[in-house]
C-alpha cells in the first residue's frame, strides 16, 4: 500500500504520482515506485533542464552521435572517431572526497568505453571554496588523491583541467570529470537491447547496498550536517575491477558477439535496463535473484536501485553467448545471464519466482515529467565603484601577487599527482593552453580543454557561459587545432528557485549562441542541480569541455617563448575591463562586476586566424589571454621558457586595465621577424587587430606603457613564485 509518506520519501510530487497511476492504470508496488522515483529523479530525467537544453546546437557534419547516448561522438577522419563526455560527482565528493572523486572518474570512463571507444585521456574541472574554510584542505587533498588513485591505477592519463577557488563553493565543491576515447567509426556500440530472445548479461562487481538512492541524492540540496546525513550512500571505487571490465569489453567489441551494452551508473540496474529497452523499443525479462550480491538478504528493491560501481549490463547474440563468457572468464570477471530480451515493450522483473515489477519500458523515459519552471531573469552584476580606485604604484608587486593567487598559480602540485603520460600520446602536457594527444597510426592529434570562469558567470551567466566556450576554443586554437565539438557539465543551485532557473536559462542561451557562432555542436553533457546548502547556491558553473583536431601534429604550437629575437605580437582588441578580474580580487580584495564583454564573431575570426597561422607554420608560440590578463599571459610565456621579453604597450586605457583586465578575444603570438608581413596580412584578411608589441630575449620581463616602464621582473624569480605558491597554499593539507 503506497502512502503519501512513501511517495514523499521517494521525492515524487503528487502530480508525478498521478501520472504513474495513469501510466500503469493501477497502483504501483514499492519496487515499481522505487523505479519511477529513480528514473524520474532530476538526475536521470532532466525534467527541469530538458526544455532549455533543446536550444543547444547538436548537429554538424562532424557529429556521429549527439546527446542521448552514453557519450557523444565526432568524426576525426582516417576512419576514426572520438567519443567524449563530462560528468559531475559533486555531492559524493563533498561527503567523502577521495571515493567521491574516484568513483566520478570510474563512472565517466564507463560511459566512454561502453561506446566501443578506448579511453585515452581524462580532464578534471575542480571548484573549491576558500582554502581556510572548514574541511577545505581535506577536500582539495582528497579529491586530487581520488582522481589520481583511480585514473593512475586504471592507466588513463589525466592531461588537463581547471582549479578555481571561490567562497561560494565553501559548502558545495564541484568535481567535474571529462573523458575522451578513440573508436573506429564502424565499431561504435550503443545502449540498445535488441533482438528478442537474446541473453541479458550482468558483469562486474557484485551488487551491494551502497549508493542506494544516489540518483535521488544528487537531486536534493544539502541541509544541516550533510556529511553525517548522507553517509550511507558512500561508494568505494575499485579501479582494478574497472580496468578488467574495460579490457574485457574492448576485447569483446572486436568480436561480433555484443548487441548492446550500458554501464550501471546512477539508479544502477534500473536505469540501464529501462533505458536499453526503451531505446530499442523492446522489452526485458530479468531475474533479480540471479544478480550477484555482496551482502545477504538484499531485497529486489535494493538490488534494483543499488549504485555499486564497476558493473555493466550487456545484451549479446544468443549464438555467441559462449564467446562472451570466455572473454569475461579470461579477465577474471563474474558474468551471469540474468535475463533475456523480449518484444513485449515491458520490463518484467522476477525475484525468487515471483514477478516483483512489471512496467512498460518506453514511458519511463518518454513520459517522464518535463517542467518549465519559473525563471527570474538575472540582472547582471555591475561595478560597485572599482573605477574610482587609485592606480597601484607598483605594478610588479601586483603581478607577483596575482601569480601567487591560488586561481592563477601553476597547478603542478595537482597534475604531478596524476599520471599524465601513460599511453604515450601526451604531446602537450598539463600546463599549456590545451592538452594535445597524438592519435597513434595517424599524423593527427586532438586538443582537449575544459573551461569556465565562475566569477564571470556570477556577474552574468549568459556572458560567462559564452566566454567559457570562446576561451576553450581560443586555448585549443592556440595549439593549432581546430575546435570540433563540445561537452558540458552544468552545475547550478536548486531549479525550484526562480533565480537559479533564470541563471540556468541564461547560461544555456550563452552556450547555445557561442557554440553556434564557433560551429562547435554540443554532443554530450550533464546537468547537476541542487548544488546549494541551507539555501545558498554556488555561482552558475557551466563547465565546457572542448575537443579540437590538429590534422598534422608536427604543426603544433606551444605557449612558451621559443627563441631570442622572436617578435611578440598581440591579436585582438584591448578594452578597459577590470570587472570580475583576478586583479580586483587579489590586489583590492573586491569581487564585483561587470563581466567582460564577448564578441562571438571576433572570437571566431581569432580562432580561425590562430589555426591558419599554425597551419602555415608562421608562429613560434601562441597563448590565449585569460585569467590575470595580458601581464599574466606574457609572464606565463616567459616563465615556461625561461626567456624574458621587452613589451611596449600604448593604449588609452588605465594601466591596471591594460595589464590585468581580462578582456576576451585576445591572444599573444611570437614569430621570426621575417614572418611579420605575412602574419599582418593574414590578420588583416580575417579582420583581427594585430600589432607587434615587443621582442623575446634576456632573462627579464619588462613591460612599458607609453614609454614608461611599469613592470621590470626577473623571469626566474617570477617563475619561483608562480610554481611554488599553490603548494605553499595547500601545504597544511599535506597530512595523509
Amino acid at each position: 500500500m503506497i502512502t503519501a509518506d512513501l511517495i514523499a520519501d521517494h521525492n515524487l510530487s503528487h502530480e508525478e504520482y498521478s501520472r504513474i497511476l495513469e501510466i500503469l492504470g493501477r497502483e504501483p508496488n514499492l519496487v515499481e515506485l522505487g523505479v519511477f522515483s529513480a528514473m524520474w529523479s532530476e538526475h536521470c530525467s532532466y525534467k527541469s533542464s530538458r526544455i532549455h537544453l533543446k536550444k543547444l546546437p547538436t548537429t554538424g557534419p562532424q557529429v556521429i552521435q549527439g546527446p542521448g547516448e552514453n557519450a557523444g561522438i565526432v568524426d576525426v577522419g582516417d576512419g576514426l572517431a572520438v567519443a567524449f563526455k563530462m560528468e559531475s560527482h559533486n555531492h559524493p565528493s563533498y561527503i567523502e572526497p577521495y571515493q567521491g572523486a574516484a568513483t566520478g572518474v570510474g563512472g565517466i570512463l564507463r560511459d566512454i568505453f561502453t561506446m566501443g571507444a578506448r579511453p585515452i585521456a581524462s580532464l578534471d574541472s575542480l571548484r573549491f571554496g576558500r582554502l581556510d574554510a572548514p574541511r577545505m584542505r581535506h577536500l582539495v587533498d582528497g579529491v586530487v588523491r581520488g582522481i589520481a588513485g583511480y585514473g593512475n591505477c586504471i592507466g588513463i592519463p589525466t592531461v588537463a583541467g581547471e582549479t578555481t577557488f571561490h567562497p561560494a563553493y565553501d559548502r558545495n565543491i564541484l568535481v567535474n570529470v571529462m573523458n575522451v576515447g578513440v573508436v573506429a567509426k564502424d565499431r561504435i556500440f550503443r545502449g540498445r537491447a535488441e533482438g528478442a530472445g537474446n541473453p541479458v548479461i550482468y558483469v562486474g562487481s557484485k551488487t551491494g547496498r551502497d549508493g542506494i538512492h544516489g540518483a535521488t541524492m544528487a537531486s536534493e540540496e544539502f541541509v544541516g550536517d550533510e556529511t553525517r546525513q548522507k553517509r550511507p550512500t558512500v561508494q568505494v571505487g575499485d579501479p582494478f575491477t574497472e580496468k578488467l571490465l574495460m579490457e574485457a569489453c574492448l576485447e569483446l567489441f572486436r568480436t561480433d558477439a555484443v548487441v548492446g551494452i550500458q554501464d550501471m551508473g546512477a539508479a544502477g540496474l534500473t536505469s540501464s535496463s529501462f533505458e536499453m529497452a526503451g531505446r530499442a523499443g523492446t522489452g526485458l525479462e530479468i531475474d533479480l535473484s540471479k544478480v550477484p550480491v555482496r551482502e545477504p538478504g538484499m531485497t529486489p528493491y535494493e538490488i534494483l536501485l543499488s549504485e555499486s560501481q564497476e558493473r555493466m549490463l550487456l545484451v549479446a547474440r544468443r549464438d555467441r553467448l559462449a564467446t562472451v563468457m570466455d572473454v569475461f572468464e579470461k579477465w577474471d570477471l563474474a558474468a551471469v545471464e540474468i535475463g533475456r530480451v523480449t518484444d513485449s515493450g515491458r520490463v518484467v522483473l522476477f525475484f525468487e519466482g515471483r514477478i516483483v515489477a512489471d512496467l512498460p519500458a518506453a514511458p519511463l523515459s518518454d513520459r517522464a515529467p518535463v517542467y518549465d519552471r519559473p525563471c527570474v531573469v538575472p540582472t547582471p552584476l555591475g561595478s560597485m565603484g572599482w573605477e574610482l580606485l587609485a592606480e597601484p604604484n607598483d605594478y610588479g608587486a601586483c603581478l607577483r601577487a596575482i601569480l601567487a593567487s591560488p586561481n592563477v598559480a601553476e597547478k603542478s602540485w595537482i597534475w604531478t599527482q596524476y599520471d599524465h603520460m601513460v599511453g604515450t600520446n601526451t604531446v602537450e602536457r598539463p600546463g599549456g593552453d590545451a592538452a594535445l594527444l597524438r592519435i597513434k597510426g595517424t599524423r593527427k592529434a586532438i586538443a582537449l580543454k575544459s573551461d569556465v570562469n565562475p566569477f564571470f558567470c556570477a556577474c552574468d551567466p549568459y556572458r560567462g557561459a559564452a566566454i567559457a566556450v570562446a576561451e576553450a576554443a581560443r586555448s585549443i586554437a592556440a595549439t593549432g587545432a581546430r575546435p570540433l565539438a563540445v561537452t558540458d557539465c552544468l552545475n547550478f543551485g536548486s531549479p525550484e528557485r526562480p533565480e537559479v532557473m533564470g541563471q540556468f536559462e541564461a547560461a544555456v542561451r550563452g552556450l547555445a549562441d557561442a557554440c553556434r557562432a564557433l560551429s562547435v555542436p554540443v554532443v554530450s553533457g550533464n546537468v547537476s542541480f541542487y548544488n546549494e546548502t541551507d539555501g545558498r547556491a554556488i555561482p552558475p558553473t557551466p563547465t565546457v569541455g572542448m575537443v579540437g583536431l590538429l590534422e598534422d601534429v608536427s604543426r603544433r604550437v606551444g605557449l612558451a617563448f621559443r627563441a631570442e629575437g622572436d617578435v611578440v605580437a598581440l591579436l585582438g582588441e584591448n578594452r578597459d575591463e577590470l570587472g570580475a578580474s583576478e586583479f580586483l580580487r587579489t590586489v583590492h580584495g573586491r569581487d564585483e562586476g561587470p563581466c567582460p564583454e564577448v564578441d562571438l564573431e571576433a572570437e571566431r575570426s581569432l580562432v580561425d586566424l590562430l589555426v591558419r597561422l599554425a597551419h602555415e607554420g608562421l608562429v613560434a608560440s601562441a597563448h590565449d589571454v585569460s585569467d590575470g590578463g595580458l601581464a599574466v599571459a606574457v609572464a606565463e610565456c616567459a616563465m615556461k621558457s625561461g626567456l624574458g621579453a621587452e613589451i611596449s604597450l600604448d593604449e588609452h586605457i588605465r594601466p591596471s586595465g591594460l595589464l590585468f583586465g581580462e578582456t576576451t578575444g585576445r591572444a599573444l603570438i611570437t614569430f621570426l621577424p621575417g614572418n611579420e608581413r605575412s602574419i599582418g596580412e593574414a590578420a588583416a584578411e580575417s579582420g583581427v587587430r594585430f600589432r607587434a608589441v615587443g621582442k623575446v630575449g634576456g632573462a627579464v620581463l619588462s613591460l612599458r606603457i607609453a614609454g614608461r616602464v611599469v613592470v621590470l621582473e626577473n623571469v626566474a624569480s617570477l617563475r619561483e613564485i608562480w610554481t611554488s605558491a599553490f603548494e605553499r597554499a595547500i601545504a597544511a593539507a599535506d597530512v595523509l
Binding site: E96, D210, Q235, V236, G237, F240, Q309, L736
Partner: protein, 84 residues
C-alpha cells in the same frame, strides 16, 4: 605508553583490496580462507602515564586523522609491555 590503533572498513563497505587478497590466497591453494578484510594498524608511542588520558587522546587522533570515519571504523588498545 604504547598504543595500537586498528582501522578497518566498516561493515557493508566494499573492500576491493581484501577481495583481491582473498582470491590470491585461494589461487595459492589456501582453500580454507573464506573472507579477508584489509585494514591498517598504527603503533603509537605516546608520552603520559594516565592510561585513560592516553587512550582518549589516541581516540581523538583516530577520529581526526588515522581513520576516515565515513567508511572506516577503528579501535584503540593500550599495550602492556609484555606483548611484543
Amino acid at each position: 605508553m604504547k598504543v595500537e590503533v586498528r582501522v578497518y572498513p566498516k561493515e557493508g563497505v566494499l573492500d576491493p583490496q581484501g577481495r583481491a587478497i582473498a582470491s590470491a590466497l585461494e589461487r595459492l591453494g589456501h582453500r580454507s580462507v573464506e573472507e579477508v578484510r584489509a585494514g591498517k594498524i598504527f603503533f603509537l608511542d605516546v608520552r603520559g602515564d594516565d592510561p585513560a588520558a592516553v587512550e582518549a587522546e589516541a581516540r581523538k587522533m583516530a577520529e581526526e586523522l588515522l581513520a576516515n570515519t565515513v567508511i572506516e571504523g577503528y579501535d584503540v588498545r593500550l599495550r602492556t609491555d609484555r606483548e611484543r
